[in-house]
Symmetry: C2
Subunit: 615 residues, 2 copies
């Protein structure tokens, strides 16, 4: 197999070959966060699309450790960009619509000032004397570039991995300049494990006999072996165990023939040899040290006292995307950031993409069908009232009576009365109330509330497609398993918490109810009534588990795992110390609300709950 | 903090300091698997306890990559051993009872012939000329050592990590010499990810300017930096992400002061510097290359055509222990081995320890309370009939009527009739039948069947303590989530498959039933009857979800998530094409078996099922 078999997009060009890149010298010196300054800073950048007259369509893309300004190809003849899948006409970052800017970072080796640059004080490259830089310094350079370009407020800042650290820093350091932020496969602080891999890689560079304290530019040999070994370690951490198995297990003991002088005993060995060997042809060891140290020292919690204090500064909507098999920037870190934003009532949406591709997933096409539309929808900030107008209760009941195929709202609903249900719940929610919708689905209730005018709205949902749909409507939705609790929210954070037709599918209904009424001043719960006479009749007369219009699934495959009556529900509330403020019991076939005999005549109920009575 | 803060057990001694080790020269040359031979092989070993008169109490311990013969201290004044927690008087590998043997492996650098040894042909150390060795070669040396020591058949062979590869190879290569095998945190073939880390480590050694193709023993400097970097990579892979967080996050930016010349920017950096620096003081780079390559090339499936073909040779009981957070030798690899053994009807028990400690867990005390008793019980091969004799059905019913605290059998049972249930099921199973017990608990049914005489018996269970208990009784039990299916078993592999009081807690009862009757010629299922008149009465008369003696939990916290009557069950069987061969419907309060009106009068049922009628 040819070496090209390993080639990524970077294989097609080497340093210096960026014909569309421009470069400018920033005015004045740059004072650095950790002390010292750079007397002059040159920035190498590329732009795509046009800045509109209002100057409000700029999207800044921050690249990762080994990236550069060439985020996408400018035309058909241009070399591939590192994120061609996401940036271009009609793509998620639509260059027909947005003015996309990407610059090589400070400390890099692809045109922007870095250790390879000439130190004005000595006339020789900085090398090991290049000062210690931080992610904040990189962002400062980006901000000055925008000043030079006449871009005031960004429509969005977008970044993955180390680029995500910059995008997050933008939102914290310059909230007034950021309209929204997309954080992909990133973290507020590297794990000790991820840190370790960087440290070992740097040790390999430092111990390379040609490193010479970073003063190697005039040497015949550079610390290529050390840099190649650092890159090999990196490559292992960018892939998932599963990706590596798929790529290398089938021909495990049949290495490919590559030109680089590293161990090639196994197929994965020849891959690492190739990746390590190729990397030194386009990257600089000092830049690797400088950028990886900046990444390792990034620690928002330390800088502001706590992560919460740092994120308190954020004012824009934030989209956080993580990838299930990313073990370098694991989803748990994204959850930690999302939690800190949620706890402070910030506008945040979040999805953990069920990807096989590890950290690299955000650069690959494999899962683009999920995170591409998600980013596109988020950048669009969906039209406020494009969602279908709520139907009246009567229409809802009629739609319901046609069965489970009554419309998009019902497709994934397990109960045929869902339209009726939502209409009634909407009526119960005061205008202007802040609402948390647990299991919000595709956002039908939240969309209605938004059109009507409301306070803060947030949905929690598990289904990724529903989340993409919600975000496309401009709703804030976070992926979360309700059985894991609502610990992230403060007591009384919402006016209303809604749990619609979901309680019966939960492992621990008692815990969810308690939590709802902790984080919400009021709770609204709708559920099917298992003591509905036709259902009970089936059990009593036929001796079989009931299957009715309201309980349409057989006992052995139903999504419902809890069976209870309205009376049972109210008894549980009493046991939990929750107050049932009002109850709407409905016979959904007729739309009637039975009186005293509601527990046998209604097939569903909507209860408004209040927390424990104050002593 | 002092350097001792990082010290493991190996910190206390350096090469050569093994006062209790003996060494002997094996007779004759050793022909190697991959060609060539070693004209002479010396083995350095230690023994503990005494070989008994019958010669059947020997336990061979195989060490991991960086281990040696000093598995445990011989007395209070002796240096710590690498597995003191498991080997010694009264410990899991009880030296009062067993004759424990451990030798440095072929290729090692702690007394047994390796690259550091003098090549008789040249009179100089082998260095880079040391021939390529395999795990099988290491096992061959161990076998010849046993021949010299007069040990015929081993009571057991035990090993973790690379040692587990040897223990597994023992069982495959020399089944006649192995009474049982314990495989800890190991695999039949390294993952491509694990392989990668070894490859990068070897590249660091090969590229060290002092490596000199392995001919460095007479040099002033050795490839210490390369070896240290390889060891640093290893250390990251031995720990879990969570362990690293716990150890290093709290003082992330406060490195400890260590004497070694590697990056010490972060606390984890100083740890890696210490571990890397310390390692070169006691280990040899050539040995590291030789042993890691042997590990990387270990691939039982390749050697025998398939893993199944390799494991077909195993005749002894095997215990497979994996650790949840071990990402170097992940639990999935252990499952793969266990599956291959199960599919061939081999005697295997398996547990995935819910450990935080990563690959190192098998060397640490943290989870010893689980895997220690498990190994001890497995080595004891529990007395065949020590379990309580089954009580009569009548006694069982009486025991049941005292409620949920009736005895140990009932502690974790969710139904009060479990003794009655098991007694009836036992009666239904023909003597000599092979039985698979799904959700076998602490092995009460399997223990009874074993005492009675039976064919092959196997239990599947989730609860770790139950598994430890079963293994201690000499039963074969594998940890498995039944909702994941029985795909590993062949059609008709068992005479009888039992599912006792578990169906109602499963997500997909239909799938479990179908699978049971695929892998078993007959199925026996017991379950509570939801149409039992007192239960139905509660629903119909009170309008509440029933809570009865047979259904003791409230609707919102019950382990049961499926509610069905005997009629429902039989209808599902018909729908699945399964035949109900016989049905015992019982009113457990009286012990009576109702007639026609069983669906309302019985509170539980036991059904004997047959697979789909043949064409």
């Amino acid at each position: 197999m040819s070496e090209a078999g390993f080639g990524g997009s970077d294989a097609a060009r080497s340093a210096g070959e960026l014909p569309h890149a421009r470069s400018l010298m920033l005015p004045g010196p740059l004072a650095l966060r950790l002390g010292g300054e750079l007397p002059e800073v040159r920035v190498c950048f590329e732009t795509y699309g046009e800045l509109n007259a209002a100057g409000d369509n700029a999207v800044y893309v921050c690249h990762a450790l080994s990236g550069d300004s060439h985020v996408a190809r400018h035309d058909e003849n241009d070399a591939p960009g590192w994120w061609d899948i996401a940036v271009g006409p009609g793509k998620a970052l639509d260059t027909d619509r947005f003015f996309v800017i990407c610059a090589n970072v400070l400390g890099g080796c692809r045109g922007t000032t870095g250790p390879w640059s000439s130190n004005p004080a000595t006339g020789r490259p900085y090398g090991g004397d290049f000062p210690r830089i931080t992610i904040a310094d990189m962002v400062e350079v980006q901000k000055r570039l925008l000043d030079e370009l006449g871009v005031g407020r960004l429509h969005a800042v977008v970044g993955g991995s180390m680029g995500g650290m910059m995008a997050l820093s933008w939102a914290v350091l310059h909230p007034e300049r950021v309209g929204s932020a997309i954080l992909l496969a990133t973290t507020h602080c590297l794990s000790s494990q991820a840190l370790s891999f960087d440290i070992v890689g740097r040790n390999a560079i430092f111990k390379d006999p040609h490193y010479n304290n970073g003063q190697y530019y005039d040497q015949e040999q550079r610390p290529d072996d050390g840099l190649a070994i650092a890159r090999m370690i990196g490559h292992v951490t960018y892939l998932s165990d599963r990706t590596m198995s798929r790529k290398f297990d089938p021909d495990r003991e049949h290495p490919r023939d590559v030109a680089y002088a590293y161990e090639k005993e196994f197929s994965v060995g020849s891959y690492l040899a190739y990746q390590g060997g190729r990397f030194v042809e386009r990257f600089d060891a000092n830049s690797y040290v400088s950028l990886s140290l900046a990444m390792d020292q990034f620690n928002l919690g330390r800088d502001y006292g706590s992560l919460e204090a740092a994120l308190a500064r954020v004012t824009c909507p934030v989209l956080v995307v993580s990838f299930r098999t990313d073990w370098l920037f694991p989803p748990a870190h994204s959850r930690r950031m999302v939690d800190a934003l949620l706890a402070q009532g910030k506008r945040v949406s979040a999805l953990e993409v069920d990807s096989d591709c590890g950290h690299d997933a955000f650069l690959l096409e494999n899962d683009l069908h999920v995170y591409g539309p998600l980013m596109a929808g988020f950048l669009k900030r969906g039209p406020v009232c494009a969602v279908e107008r709520p139907q009246s209760a009567k229409n809802g009941a009629q739609a319901g009576s046609t069965g489970r195929d009554a419309g998009p709202t019902n497709v994934r609903s397990i109960f045929f009365q869902s339209r009726l249900d939502l209409a009634r719940i909407e009526e119960l929610i005061p205008t202007g109330a802040s609402v948390l919708d647990l299991g919000c689905g595709a956002g039908h209730l939240l969309g209605r509330l938004r059109c009507r005018g409301s306070g803060a709205l947030l949905g929690l949902e598990l289904n990724p497609q529903d989340i993409v749909e919600c975000v496309g409507q401009g709703l804030c939705v976070v992926q979360r398993d309700l059985d894991r609790g609502l610990g992230v929210f403060a007591d009384g954070q919402f006016d209303v918490v809604v749990l619609s037709q979901t309680l019966q599918a939960m492992r621990r209904p008692d815990r969810v109810l308690t939590e709802m009424l902790r984080v919400g001043k009021t709770g609204i719960v709708s559920f099917p009534n298992f003591a509905h006479a036709p259902a009970v009749r089936q059990l009593a007369e036929n001796g079989t588990s009931p299957v009715t219009e309201g309980l349409p699934f057989p006992w052995w495959s139903s999504p419902s795992i809890r069976f209870f009556s309205i009376k049972d529900f109210e008894a549980l509330c009493a046991e939990l110390g929750l107050r049932v403020l009002s109850r709407i019991a409905i016979d959904s076939a007729t739309g009637e609300q039975p009186g005293e005999d509601y527990n046998t005549r209604a097939d569903m109920a909507i209860c408004v709950l209040g927390g424990p009575a104050k002593g």
